[in-house]
């Protein structure tokens, strides 16, 4: 363990970058922004290399922050935290590269310099969310990420972006405010015992000793869960997502769905399960049913979409349902699969959004019906859409298959019915992906496509998506590195629950070789 504050550096770097972009003028600003994003990526890779998968929370930093209420500036990453950090640091430069000067070339929007600045701001705040090990610190950044996202949607999206930004913010804020009451409740409980604390570690210890094994614990759990359910859009609080994704620019949509929404599932595992084991067990049946509804409803709705961006959004609703299902299956395989899924979904959805963004940019419309036969005009673009689509449907050999399988296997061990119905979505996902690919890419080139889509992807656009596809492929055949990070998280979470009567049935598969 080093004493160098790696995590603070990691989170502050993009914030400095954002500040720098306020002062730098001209086209140089984009390069500087990208440099900061790449530098952050480099630091995160250093952290990943130095990380010891089996050793729990690492790179711990702790500073006194608000002694009056027992809150401290404490950071740390475990396997899940590290995966989320990597996801964030990978996606930010990718989004920058994919977006580059788009905002400047479409009139009436803010400059791409502002886009880069807001993206870096969002990255810094988001990294803090994934690394905070103090409940209040987590909450602070959890809410703070909404503001750059609000401007990213409202400043750059499609025609009705202002309303969509407002809807996004109000939904998230509503969830966040309900959670605030629970955060305050934790203070009231610990302060009532004479020693107010927000430290995740002390709270987890106290929770294991039964601090929240009472009706109040259920209320506090509900506060956290509602916020995270809004964030990781679960039916019935998912309605904001499709509107926000439709109106947002592809880059902003990527950051929103791939990074920010992960806070929902991340928080469910870390805070709902970690702090309120009794209440989590109590709520499991309801949560599993809601997750199942999300899985199936998201898939069915995706089939019915006429807008490409909305389509991607609904596939995500379905996928988030899987992640929640894996977490609340309460088996180590399910949770590990879910954590891995969070990472994979981030990559494949980012690829989908970005490629769809390329299509929309060329065609000038996001309607599925506006496309047809694009394959012949832009074969590379079609190829990328196919690969990212296949990743979304969980084709074997691509990384999302591994995680989806683990989630289903882990759920099946404890809740065979839930997992059984969930597999329907695998079928549906094949339908929605192939359907969209067929209608947009194959067939004769339509007149409008021939008129508007002149060029295939530029090398910059390819360069942005290639890393994503590469990681998806590599982790599809060789998931070991990611699973090494995810599996201890699952084992640890279930071990903490075993005191409350949770058994950990192992699915009958040779682990890690799927």
């Amino acid at each position: 363990m080093t004493t160098f504050p790696w995590l603070t550096v990691l989170a502050v770097l993009p914030l400095i970058g954002a500040l720098a972009l306020v002062f730098i003028k001209g086209p140089r600003a984009r390069t500087v922004g990208l440099a900061f994003a790449l530098l952050t990526l480099a630091v995160s890779i250093v952290v990943a290399i130095a990380f010891d998968p089996g050793a729990g929370m690492q790179f711990i930093e702790q500073q006194s922050w608000i002694p009056a209420i027992g809150a401290s500036y404490s950071l740390g990453v475990d396997g899940m935290g590290l995966l989320m950090v990597l996801l964030t640091t990978i996606l930010v430069p990718v989004v920058m590269l994919a977006t580059w000067d788009d905002p400047d070339t479409t009139g009436g929007r803010w400059t791409s310099q502002t886009f880069f600045g807001l993206t870096l701001l969002l990255e810094g705040l988001g990294l803090y969310v994934f690394m905070a090990t103090d409940v209040l610190l987590f909450y602070l950044f959890f809410e703070a990420t909404l503001i750059p996202m609000f401007f990213l949607i409202g400043g750059f999206g499609a025609a009705k972006r202002s309303g969509a930004a407002m809807k996004f913010l109000l939904f998230s804020l509503a969830g966040g405010l309900v959670m605030l009451v629970s955060v305050i409740g934790i203070y009231a409980v610990t302060s009532g015992l004479g020693n107010p604390t927000y430290s995740l570690q002390s709270l987890q210890g106290a929770a294991a000793a039964g601090l929240f094994a009472n009706p109040l614990g259920k209320w506090l759990f509900a506060g956290f869960f509602i916020a995270f359910a809004v964030k990781a859009p679960m039916v019935p609080v998912h309605t904001w997502l499709a509107d926000a994704a439709e109106e947002a620019s592809p880059g902003a949509a990527t950051l929103m769905v791939s990074v920010l929404d992960k806070i929902g599932t991340f928080g469910m595992l870390r805070f709902c399960l970690g702090l309120f084991p009794e209440a989590s067990l109590w709520a499991t049946p309801l949560v599993l049913v809601l997750a199942l509804v999300s899985v199936v409803y998201g898939a069915v709705a995706a089939i019915g979409q006429r807008n490409l961006m909305r389509f991607v959004a609904f596939t995500s609703v379905s996928h988030f349902g899987f992640m929640v299902m894996g977490i609340f299956a309460l088996t180590s395989t399910g949770i590990a699969g879910s954590v891995f899924y969070m990472f994979n979904h981030g990559l494949s959805t980012a690829a989908l959004f970005l490629v769809v963004g390329y299509m929309v940019k060329r065609r000038g419309s996001a309607d599925i019906a506006a496309f047809g036969g694009v394959q012949k005009v832009a074969p590379v673009m079609a190829g990328f859409l196919l690969v990212s689509g296949l990743s979304a449907l969980g084709l074997p050999g691509l990384s999302s298959f591994v995680s989806e399988f683990m989630v289903l296997a882990g759920t099946f061990a404890g809740h065979p019915w839930i997992a059984g119905v969930g597999t329907i979505a695998l079928l549906l996902s094949a339908v929605y992906v192939m359907n969209v690919y067929q209608r947009t890419m194959t067939g004769p080139v339509t007149e409008q496509v021939a008129r508007t889509v002149h060029a295939d992807l530029t090398s910059r656009e390819r360069l942005a998506v290639v890393p994503l596809v590469a990681i998806i492929l590599v982790l599809g055949f060789f998931p070991r590195p990611a699973l090494q990070l995810a599996e201890p998280v699952g084992a640890q979470a279930v071990a903490a629950l075993q005191a409350h009567g949770v058994t950990d049935p192992k699915p009958q598969i040779p682990e890690g070789q799927n």
Partner: protein
């Protein structure tokens, strides 16, 4: 009983009040003796010096041991740590208000106040006063007297003293509200409305005092406390007195259903005065309210807690829902101020006190801290309203603010920070303040009230965010421009911005400060 009175000791015990009062008297003298051209500058400097001197003396008293304060249990003014803490807030924000009142550049080289308050609006008299460049430099005198009353009000340990202080603080405010340079009829209407309703509220307050006196046989808060349940009269007399006093106190705070004056007076009054009222009056009134309820009527809390809870919910609903319909920035800020009063009342109703076995962040600490976070964003927010002008006239219509953040990004971002703070978004002061008041309610066992408050704060967030959306997402309109200001307003805005962000990121020192001022001193605790 010692019959020789130690006057010097008595005066030093309330030194900050004495400084402000002497300063106010001196300022009055200056009005009488100084030639007109010297008055304005002298008054500005004098007011600032007096307020800062009082602030320093309060700080020195704070740093002295708390035991040295208020040894006299029969004192009519109780200088305990909460009083000192609130005094410091009051003096700080009053000083910022003075800076706003001193601003001239924004108004085209003249002050925000009418050249002749007595002249009929639009008359020849008014024009000639304007041509002669007359100025009401006594606005600073009025402000200092008002601050004296406010300081006494929140520290009063005696109901008669409290009533006197209430009048000292209110009368100058009525006058100040009526002195706007532009839209004078509106301003005068506001002043008259404020005066009439305020007089009603005072009457209620006074009658409440009489009933409480009838019940307890004393005006002294600690004695009233000891008499609760021990009087020969029926408790209903006490409850009737309590409710009538509440009418007077809640009126001053701007709590529904006694809030109707707030939007009109805030809109009509000169904007610097509005900023002063929105913050300083609130500090004083909230301080007095808490003292009466916690010190004198703590044993009655089962009776007043539900009343306050209902009033708090009503206030938050009115502030949030009616605020949604506002199209005028100043009115919007007025409803915002009503909403914030509602949050404060949530903490007061929660009554998290050491007396009720709450030892962490008590209601008094939470409310004091909240007032700091509220004031630090409110005064500069009003200052920024004065800066948006079209042909010299203040543009308060929200539609006039369209796209102003794109024309002038610095202005837009700064205003957005204040709006986010009002909405209680983290990394701004407003969030920590909101955390504190709702935590106090939760600790007092009123978790559900905190939940209601938090949900209503979502409704209120809509209109703050709409201001941001209008400033940044709409296309700019012709006409309204952001005017350059003198250093005075600039200082206020910069201090407010820095304060809002620092309190949002490192609230630790300020929270510890007010945690130390968690309880009023009372009989039996000394």
């Amino acid at each position: 009983m010692n019959l020789t009175t130690d006057y010097a000791g008595l005066l030093t015990a309330i030194l900050p009040v004495v400084i402000v009062f002497l300063g106010a008297s001196l300022s009055l003298l200056a009005e009488a003796v100084l030639p007109q051209r010297l008055r304005w500058g002298t008054q500005v400097v004098l007011s600032l010096v007096v307020l800062i001197a009082a602030l320093v003396s309060a700080l020195v008293m704070w740093r002295g041991s708390p035991g040295s304060l208020a040894k006299d249990q029969t004192a009519m003014v109780m200088v305990d740590l909460p009083a000192l803490g609130l005094w410091m807030l009051l003096l700080l924000f009053a000083a910022l208000s003075v800076l706003l009142m001193a601003e001239r550049e924004v108004y085209g080289g003249v002050s925000a106040f009418t050249p002749s308050g007595a002249a009929i609006p639009g008359s020849q008299e008014e024009r000639s006063a304007g041509d002669a460049r007359l100025e009401h430099s006594e606005v600073f005198t009025l402000l200092l007297f008002s601050v004296t009353g406010m300081m006494l009000f929140l520290a009063s340990n005696d109901l008669v003293m409290m009533f006197v202080a209430l009048e000292i603080m209110s009368l100058p405010l009525y006058l100040l509200s009526g002195l706007a340079r532009r839209r004078r009829l509106l301003s005068q209407e506001a002043a008259l409305k404020y005066f009439l309703l305020g007089a009603f509220a005072s009457a209620f307050f006074l009658f409440g005092i009489a009933l409480v006196f009838a019940y307890a046989g004393s005006f002294h808060l600690s004695v009233i406390d000891s008499m609760v349940g021990a009087s020969s009269l029926s408790e209903s007399v006490l409850i009737a007195g309590l409710l009538m006093m509440l009418v007077g106190l809640l009126f001053k705070v701007g709590i529904a259903p006694f809030h109707n004056w707030v939007p009109d007076v805030y809109t009509g009054a000169p904007t610097p005065v509005t900023a002063f009222m929105a913050v300083c009056t609130k500090i004083a009134a909230v301080g007095g309210l808490m003292r009466v309820l916690y010190v004198a009527l703590g044993a009655e809390r089962w009776n007043w807690q539900p009343v306050l809870a209902v009033a708090a919910i009503l206030t938050m609903v009115v502030g949030a829902v009616i605020g949604l319909a506002q199209t005028d920035v100043k009115r919007l800020l007025a409803y915002s101020s009503i909403t914030h009063a509602g949050y404060i009342l949530v903490a007061i109703a929660g009554a998290a006190q050491v007396a009720n076995n709450v030892h962490g962040f008590t209601s008094v600490s939470a409310v004091s801290f909240y007032l700091l976070t509220y004031g630090v964003a409110t005064i500069p927010a009003f200052a920024m309203v004065t800066m948006v002008r079209d042909n010299g006239a203040e543009v308060t219509q929200l539609s006039g603010w369209a796209g102003i953040g794109r024309k002038n990004p610095v202005f837009g971002v700064v205003m957005a920070v204040f709006m986010l703070s009002f909405a209680g978004i983290p990394l701004t002061a407003g969030f920590m303040g909101k955390w504190a008041v709702f935590a106090a309610a939760f600790q007092g066992g009123w978790g559900w009230l905190a939940l209601v408050g938090v949900l209503l704060s979502l409704v209120a967030a809509v209109y703050y965010l709409r201001v941001i959306a209008v400033m940044f997402f709409r296309e700019p309109v012709e006409g309204p421009e952001v005017i350059d200001t003198s250093a005075a307003t600039l200082i206020v805005v910069v201090l407010g911005l820095v304060g809002t962000i620092v309190l949002g990121i490192i609230p630790g020192p300020a929270m510890t400060f007010f945690q130390n001022a968690g309880e009023f001193l009372r009989l039996g605790m000394m």
